[in-house]
Amino acid sequence: MTKKKFKVVNTSVEKIDSLSLSLGKPMYVSDMMPENALHVKMLWSPHAHAIIESVDISETEKMPGVHCVLYYGNVPRIVHCTAGQGYPEPSPYDTFMFDKKVRFVGDRVAAVAAETVEQAQAALKTIKVKYKLLEAVLDIDSALKKNAPIIHDEKEAYIPIPVPYEPEKNIVAIVGMESGDFKKGLKNADYTFDQVFETPYAQHCPIENYVSLAQLDDYERIVIRTSTQVPFHCRRIVARTLDIPVQKLRVIKPRIGGGFGAKQEVLLEDIVAMVTLRTGKPAFWEFTREETFRTGRTRHPIRFRMRYGVNKSGSIEALGMDAINNTGAYGGHGLTVMSCCGSKVFPLYHVDNIHFDAKAVYTNLPVGGAYRGFGATQAFFAVESMMDIMAEKIGMDPLKFRTMNHIQSGEGHPAFAALGEGKPGTPMTIGSCSLKKCVELGAKEIDWSSRTSHKKKSGRIRRGIGMATLMQGSSVAEIDMGACSMKMNEDGSFNLNCGATDLGTGSDTIMAQIAAEELCTTADKFIVYSSDTDMTPFDVGAYASSTTYLSGEATRKTAAKIKEQILKVAAEMLDKDVKDLDIKDAEVSVRDGSGKVSYSDISNYSLYENNQFQIAATESHVTKKSPPPFSAHFVEIEVDTETGNIKVLKYVAAVDCGTAINPILCEGQTEGGVLNGISYALTEEYRFDKKGKMTNPSLKDYNIFSLRDKPVLKTILVPSYEETGPFGAKSVSEICINGAMPAIANALYNATGKRIRTAPFTQERVWKVLNSK
């Protein structure tokens, strides 16, 4: 590990937008709605599975204030995918703006744009729809049965990359890998295991709902301001869906109120763009919280069958994961989430013999999308629970079991090459790993040794301590690209325009820090503008934990190019060779002390004086690997064995994200992800009626934590240095949500000797488990 001295990076620089946001400045999409905007409201399907026989909008179009009514009969029928992914997407094209079929309660039927919200809502009531009900498929086993109703029987559905897609069997994707000899490994093992784990639906609950605004600019181009994580994918997908050229669209992401993966999707923008295209007027559409729950994207519920073989010595002989993923009514992200169940999880431990078979299937239920953790969260519940189960069988401390088996710096793993995202993966050797230290520091903080005494206790209220070790990735190697443009201004300030998408995560600030470090100046010298398809170069957007590692490196490369130009100009000004010059604190000086020029001197010279040119550069980056961040999570819980209530007392997350570009923001990401992971494990739940309708689409009935519920949280950043990342950085944003479910399950076992395999761990579920054999 290289010990570097940084001036700007690894400092908790104030987030660029903090002040403006705390003053309540109008920086979000809905704050920019013009007064004459039309309001869009959507008629949603009340049925889980039905054919639309007819839609009669004759009365609707005459309703007061109505300017536009859209349904399958008056929009182009262009199959596409709503998932925000690179083109061609590793997801089936199975969606139409409006179809003649509805596939879940909350699917689109028809839209109205009217002058006021009340008028739009009144108009919706006049839309006459005739449905022919079809048998609904409400679980993964029913979806896979022979002769199950086919949810996607449309002839247009296809997948644009050469991977299995079998909609006639309700199969969205099949992913797998084989390494070594799994069957032999099981046979050779001293002990074998075969257990099933299930993870549930969840919603991201960004405090700002989905919201989009479209309007024409003075050149008749459609400008979409939207709460999105993927402005460039959005532009491409909307262009396709509306059958208009990309050139005619501009997508801008202003400040947004959280994403967490929910907004890595194009769910509203096609409609507002179409309304604006048809009417010439601005179109505004904001989901209600209910719509965000029902129609918005969710976490994929997954069932895992885990088969393991372990030896008395502690080596893992075989790992088998058979998984079925419920992607809901549409297939976006289904394949990639399944891939990540393996690719972001298997490499954590040394295992030669691996079997992985995963299917993503359609059901007539709410639609899975991207959600922080992206398959790894679900898979770690299964894998990290199994690690404790195996450790107990061989009589080893689960901490020691993990420490002796986890991957180290310099090592590779067959899963890296085997599992890509719709294509082969990228082989990788770990370049940075401080997991051992994470485990050590985390164990100390939680007082791991008190586990032994917890195990022995009896009585109604018990305590338990559990742990999980984790990894994730940093960007999608060889596939995703980010770019950055910079130019220099006469006062030594810079414009930094990047496609990278700041969801509130602080990526604008991180880019400024990285550029400042490379350019030997301060972060406040950068005017950062991001996520505007006209004004910023391409970036895939905020997902796959890419922003620091991928977009950050594009930024660093751009800054490096700028530095070259600065040095050339300085050399001309000082009449020296570039090799005789040093840069420090926004100044270029001759090494022998014979002269110096400041950045503003240089910029003025280059803009006005001689051999004038604009000091500017644009650089792109594609990563060659996806170096995992690592983390060790520890939790202490209190269990009321009479009621099954679990209370989290203290949670410790020790994180290796390489260099923390902005430590306080890294901690903030970790704390947010951890608390989300805890409520995912304990209180968040989608409830359905018998007809597939989600019955608790409200923050009253879907329970996330408030400050009053927060347990003690402790974050420990444990630096390592990733050579391939900007100033040694990896990622931090997703890994933090993966630990709570398995760590709490392991803590429950420590406290009670009982194992829970289905989440969320509601009181009744825990009580049942405690009272089971």
Binding site: S18, L23, T505, L707
Partner: protein, 155 residues
């Protein structure tokens, strides 16, 4: 269209709003330009619509606009300036507690009221008084630290 006029004081300024009886205060405030008050759920759960009514935090999405007639209300626009942020804003910024910022106006107003009532709240007091402002980004950790710092300064 039975519009009514109500008079109230917003951030120290006398105001006259034209409202419909069924309108919630949130809709009216945003229409009148107070964009810092947010729509997050519309049903009194998330707290992003929080304003101070006679100094006490309430959900503007749950109260009717006419209930503010003759009253004093405060929105985030009345708290701090860019040159001179409020001590609570400063503390939140310094602690890195502002991520997406959507919950912040509500958090700041709730906290402001809390400190005006009790300048040195302990952790339990803070948890109880801030329990109506949801945040999904921060895990509340740095929000709590920031508010504890303000309490410490007040001591």
């Amino acid at each position: 269209m039975n519009k009514k006029l109500i008079n109230l004081v917003v951030n120290g300024e006398e105001k006259e709003f034209s409202i419909l009886p069924n309108e919630k205060l949130l809709e009216v405030l945003r229409r009148e330009g107070y964009k810092g008050t947010k729509f997050g759920c519309g049903e009194g759960s998330c707290g992003s619509c929080t304003i101070l009514l006679e100094g006490k935090p309430v959900y503007s999405c749950t109260m009717f606009a006419f209930q503010a007639a003759g009253k004093k209300i405060e929105t985030i626009e009345g708290v701090g300036t860019a040159k001179n942020p409020h001590v609570i804003q400063r503390a939140l910024i310094d602690q890195g507690a502002v991520q997406c910022g959507f919950c912040m106006p509500g958090i700041i107003l709730s906290a402001k009221s809390m400190f005006e009532e009790n300048s040195d709240p302990d952790e339990e007091y803070i948890r109880t008084h801030m329990d109506g402002n949801l945040c999904r980004c921060t895990g509340y950790e740095k929000i709590l630290t920031a508010l504890e710092n303000v309490a410490a300064v007040n001591k």
